[in-house]
Amino acid sequence: MSDATLALALPAAGSRELVRALARRERRRHLAAVALTLPLCVFLLFTLLVPIGALLLRAVENPEVVHALPRASQALSGWDRRGLPPAATYAALATDLAKLNDRSDAGALARRLNTDVPGARSLIMGTYRALPFDAGLAAEAVRNHMLALDPRWGEPKYWHAIANNSSRWTPNYLLAALDLRRAADGGIERAEPDQRVFGRILGRTFEISAIVTLFCLALGYPLAWWLSTLPARRANVLMILVLVPFWTSILVRVAAWIVLLQSAGLVNRALMALGVIGQPLALLFNRTGVIIAMVHILLPFMILPLYSVMKAVPATYLRAAVSLGSPPLAAFFRVYVPQTLPGIGAGGLLVFILSIGYYVTPALLGGAEDQMLSYYISQYTNVDVNWGLACALGAILLVATLLLYGVYRRVVKAELSLG
């Protein structure tokens, strides 16, 4: 209903009834809008915000040691971390372990400590199985028993691990995800050189994503431009060709690339038959294969926003520039390309952010040196069952992505537009 018809149906302008009626109407409209978006908001809350919150929580949660070893945690809180803890602490630990009423608590404790000190798993489980000691033993006797059971109880590193984890919340997982760790004295230091890995993997993840984005832009831009200049019917037919791979299962496409790119595959055999190469090229199970397949999979995400932006750019501008004496190439880059910047930004960001989370394609087409961060997140979730570290790596990836988006907004100075 337009404002004119609205006014006709209502009392005279400026009257109080009118103001009230307008306010009422405005309220109702507002309510309707909220009601319409409510399902989506609830959906987003439960499928996106709650899981992300749980993920962030799990990255700093550290319940295992506090839960299983309340007395030992207490005893270690005042420990100066020099040498070994006093005999009373040994006794507290033995009491804690003997009092666990569920074996799974011991297992969880062993797993938690083993992520900090390899070997803690067998130490904890071995001791747990040997307990309880005879009742009424003095603290010194308990300590001697434990040392006799496993001499590793005489090594401070296991005690440091317990002390470092005897609080409900911990920065340890996040530190590990940044290649840092807690030192023996509780301070923060860099991880050992052969355990520093996530920084490089994050760098590799961004590097692969950037290369994929650039290739998608280089391949997608001319195609989108050509499509935008065609009459609608032909453009639609060709657009279907762009979209068909988009609708095909990602695993099918990965398998197809294996068939094409393997050393006796179609590509290599064709190149050898043409005499271009004498030896088959290594196109698979390395960076090349990963990038080829990822560019193929992500190309539609570049073409679609570009196409929709280009459709809206009047062809007359380019013609006007040329008719005013600009060389065609200069006109293209100085008149046409700047008008498609929102499409480049949207497509680039979309492809880049999707690339960062890639897992299946590098896992199946890449070598050990081509795996991206998601591969390790999956490894820690499924194989090592170290969910704290998996969540911390996820949090790092999330923060890095948000930071990049922030940088994008500052540079492009525009809201993300999908055309």
């Binding site: 297992g107 390899p118 798993r121 698979l284 050990a368 499924n382 194989v383 090592d384």
Partner: protein, 343 residues
């Protein structure tokens, strides 16, 4: 393979309430192993009228069992797990304690198959394999596997530290029985990674067990590490793939019942059935994984026995996977491997 798992799990979860009494969800690793289990265990068990079996595939992710047990929504009844997972899962209370009186006599089984939370179901091995059409004389030792002058070309190896570090030490002259002793020291781990670095330009990494035979057939690699059953499956399809058993690493897979699984009694009956000599012998006829029930061997022909990892000649220089070692050191060595791969 990966996408089918959640889908099947959903199908299994949906199908369960319809006929909860007579349906059993059995989870295994898929592929040739699943086909052999279907013939030897699933079909005869169904024919006996005991239950309808829903087969589900997974990739060994203990996280899935952990999530089910923690949420108290267990939809899997019987699960095949690898040995590191049975120890870890048993410690963490993810599995029911196995009542051996319901499944068989401990004396009939190999000692390694007897576990408080499960029963070993077959012995498999990670070995070196090559294409007999391409190599007349295959590699005989791990030192040969590392010898790129004598055998030029790429080698397939599993992405990760497990197995590869052991193989590297054996290639460097460490005796199979000393491998884990050496690997447990810092100097030994350094030595293994150094040896792996030598071969690195020639390594083509694989992720899934189905890849190595495919690499060999396609000619992408000249030799590869592989699970022996996968090579066996390719041989049955008529491929001339060959195995060198020297210094293979063998391990067991186990049947377990997740804690709180709905049909415990029926699950025990299935496990008991799948552990009988007859059923295990039938399984070994369909895939060359070794039976754990020692009475099953008498039912097999010498030709089939010669293909099993447990046959005396194949097991002579074999190494048993040390799961206690990997339970303690696995995470730190895998991380070191990732760091090594990033250099």
């Amino acid at each position: 393979m990966k996408t089918s798992t959640p889908l099947l799990a959903i199908v299994a979860a949906l199908a369960l309430p319809v006929a909860a009494q007579t349906q059993l969800t059995v989870v295994n690793f898929g592929g040739a192993n699943a086909a052999a289990q279907k013939k030897a265990y699933v079909e005869p068990f169904e024919k006996s009228g005991a239950a309808k079996i829903v087969s589900v595939e997974y990739n060994g992710e203990q996280a899935k069992i952990k999530a089910m047990v923690e949420a108290k929504k267990v939809v899997w009844d019987v699960v095949e797990v690898e040995s590191p997972d049975i120890n870890r899962g048993c410690d963490e209370g993810l599995f029911e304690k196995l009542d051996w009186s319901k499944v068989g006599s401990k004396a009939d089984f190999q000692p390694a198959a007897v576990h408080e939370c499960g029963i070993g179901t077959f012995v498999w091995s990670t070995v070196m394999a090559y294409n007999g059409d391409k190599l007349k004389q295959g590699p005989a030792t791990w030192a040969d596997f590392w010898n790129v002058k004598k055998f030029p070309g790429k080698r397939g190896m599993r992405k990760g530290a497990r197995y590869n570090l052991e193989f590297a030490l054996m290639a460097d002259g460490v005796k199979p029985q000393d491998v884990y002793k050496v690997l447990a020291t810092k100097a030994g781990a350094d030595r293994a990674f150094r040896k792996l670095s030598q071969l690195r330009p020639n390594i083509q990494w694989w992720e899934a067990g189905a890849q190595p035979p495919q690499f060999l057939v396609a000619g992408d690699v000249v030799m590869t590490t592989a699970f022996n059953g996968r090579i066996d499956a390719a041989q049955r399809e008529g491929r001339n793939l060959k195995i060198s058993w020297t210094g293979g690493i063998y391990d067991l897979d186990y049947w377990v019942i997740p804690a709180g699984a709905p049909n415990k009694e029926l699950s025990e009956r299935f496990i008991a059935f799948a552990s009988t000599p007859d059923a295990q012998a039938e399984y070994a006829r369909n895939i060359s994984y070794g039976p754990t029930n020692t009475k099953a061997l008498a039912k097999l022909t010498p030709k089939i026995i010669s293909q099993l990892p447990t046959s005396p000649s194949n097991a002579k220089t074999a190494l048993r996977m040390d799961n206690k070692f990997w339970a303690d050191q696995g995470e730190v060595l895998e991380k070191r491997f990732a760091s090594w791969a990033a250099q």
